[in-house]
Amino acid sequence: MTAPADNKPLLDVRGLTIEIDTRRGPAVIVDGINLTVGKGETLGVVGESGCGKSLTMLSLVRLLPNKIRVKGGTAEFAGRDLLKMSKSELRQVRGGKIGFVFQDPMTSLNPVMRIGDQLCEPLIYHRKMNKADARVRAIELLRLVGIPGPEQRIEAYPHELSGGMRQRVMIAIGLACDPELLIADEPTTALDVTIQAQIVDLVKDLRKKLNMSVVWITHDLALIAGLVDRVAVLYAGTVVEDAPVNELFARPTHPYTRGLLASIPKLSDERASRLSSIGGTPPEPGRRPKGCPFAPRCGLAESVCHERVPVLEPVAGSGGHRVACFVAQRQMMEAA
């Protein structure tokens, strides 16, 4: 293990740009994303459905689908650029030092293989365990993610499990090798609140024990409120806001973030009252507006927003809070 210098982040993504081939030529899907995750830090990633969260994370482990490729940028993990690593080095990292929880459990699990075997695979490959030890560890992992009767369930095929169980199997696979970095792509969408809490506690626990770093993609803002240290808000393939979690909830700054927080149904809401949502749809790859990608839907947009692209800049009067919005920047400046 090559320990990075103490102040250096474990994962440092700079200017990551992802392109897709369309009939009209290449189009940008992810546009120059910067993300850093320190050792032992947990980063929450939220954003509109289809904004490029999954593709960003898949690009880090070089699992992008056909026709989609990284156009530029670097992604240093423990000082080594993941995007330039040799295949064999990458294999060591994937599933070993970086644990990955995919968004679609049913399609990511092999339908004709028992889940126990799928859990044992990384243990045997990365941890060089023998079959018997791997099996013991696999049962333990299933118990940790709260699957009842793990001794029997280890022999189940994916279709014999409930949606939430499959998702927990994915989490178990992601955690199997005690990774330095866990990338979890909407890992709890099918889990009820009690199990969710259990998984969150488990991840917190491992974070403390192994000093594990976590990137947690989700749209469940309530869940990440108690889990993450920092939140990056993505919109149309760019980071539009990046702040410590308390700060983000206390002072949401970007109009998109504010719209997002306003859309959460509250437990105290009346039934059938209409929920507020952000009107319009996000731009598609290849049809991005000239200025701020959010401008066409933004209630605050001014002429400058349609002309120039705002960059992520520190918000006046707060530490570590950055936002990419002309108007919000000015408002915060005036407020401060």
Partner: protein, 321 residues
């Protein structure tokens, strides 16, 4: 906070027609060098099979007893055989034989195999058990043995019957024993070739039948026929194409093996198989008589199998590097 909702429901006019999955697969295939090489060889051989006989300098039957067993030269690229026939011309004509045998045999085998396999997989039950029993039976008897038995028991009576017809009608058609050859070779080869297709298709159908998207189709209330045609068959066809490609090569090898045993296409119709078996008898003296047909056969099977592997990768729509 106010959000003016702007309806961006975009114009329907579209400048981005769908890239069909087949097209996509074709592009992926073209990126695979081995598969492209295989495809090129297959196309070349197919061209030779169709137009070859018009392109060769000699007729494949013309004997020239003054030029027997000649080594390769400019006049005879692959030399001549023991009757002074041009080996190059015979190999070229043999390509036609090989393709005809491979295509006809595979076509029969695929039709039988796919029909039985798909029905067995979809309907299950008794029908499935009977079909599977037949495939198991056919696959457990040694192939060559089966073919030898069929040939030995059927060939003599059929030839005798044709000879009798000729005597009675004097119709020259009955003199063409080549049809008997083809019939028997095709028939018996197809008989031993269909079970793998049936098994493959049945397994495919069985696994696809349980996929969630088939359940979803049922939930929409679609009929069995629609589900079979739009959901099961299109998703099962990829592996079938792959195995057909490899199967064509296998059929060519099989034909050669039969010829070698004397149950294949009979001389004087040239086939790579009977040329190889003739060549084997004299290979110490005239190695070119063995080398030429054997090399072409080898080339053809390797080409088909590269192509099959390439198709396998290309037809997987989500495949990533």
């Amino acid at each position: 906070m106010t959000m003016t909702p702007v309806n961006l429901s975009s114009t329907v006019a579209d400048d981005e027609p769908p890239v069909s999955l087949w097209r996509d697969a074709w592009h992926r295939l073209l990126r695979n060098k081995l598969a492209v090489a295989g495809l090129a060889v297959v196309i070349l051989l197919a061209f030779v099979a169709v137009f070859g006989p018009w392109l060769t300098p000699y007729d494949f039957l013309t004997q020239d007893l003054s030029a027997r067993n000649q080594a390769p030269s400019l006049a005879h690229l692959f030399g001549t055989d023991d009757l002074g026939r041009d080996v190059f011309s015979r190999v070229v004509y043999g390509t036609r034989t090989a393709f005809v045998v491979a295509i006809v045999v595979t076509a029969i085998a695929v039709v039988i195999g796919v029909t039985l396999g798909a029905m067995a997989g979809f309907f299950g039950g008794m029908f499935d058990r009977v079909v599977m029993w037949f495939t198991d039976m056919t696959m457990s008897v040694p192939n060559l043995l089966l073919v030898v038995v069929i040939n030995a028991s059927l060939k003599t009576p059929i030839t005798a019957w044709m000879e009798a017809r000729y005597q009675a009608t004097l119709n020259p058609f009955y003199r063409e024993t080549i049809w008997v050859d083809f019939l028997l070779v095709f028939g018996s080869m197809a008989l031993i070739s269909w079970p793998p297709y049936a098994r493959l298709v049945r397994a495919q159908v069985l696994s696809i039948r349980g996929r969630p998207y088939v359940t979803a189709a049922r939930a929409l209330g679609l009929t069995n026929r629609l589900i079979l045609m739009r959901y099961i068959v299109p998703n099962a066809i990829g592996p079938l194409i792959v195995s057909v490609s490899a199967g064509l090569g296998t059929a060519m090898v099989l034909e050669s093996a039969f010829s070698f045993l004397g149950v294949g296409v009979n001389p004087p119709t040239p086939s790579w198989g009977n040329m190889i078996s003739d060549g084997l008898r004299v290979w110490q003296h005239y190695p070119h008589l063995l080398a030429a047909p054997a090399a072409v056969l080898g080339l053809a099977t390797v080409a088909f199998s590269f192509l099959g592997d390439g198709l396998n990768d290309a037809l997987n729509p989500r495949g990533s590097k």
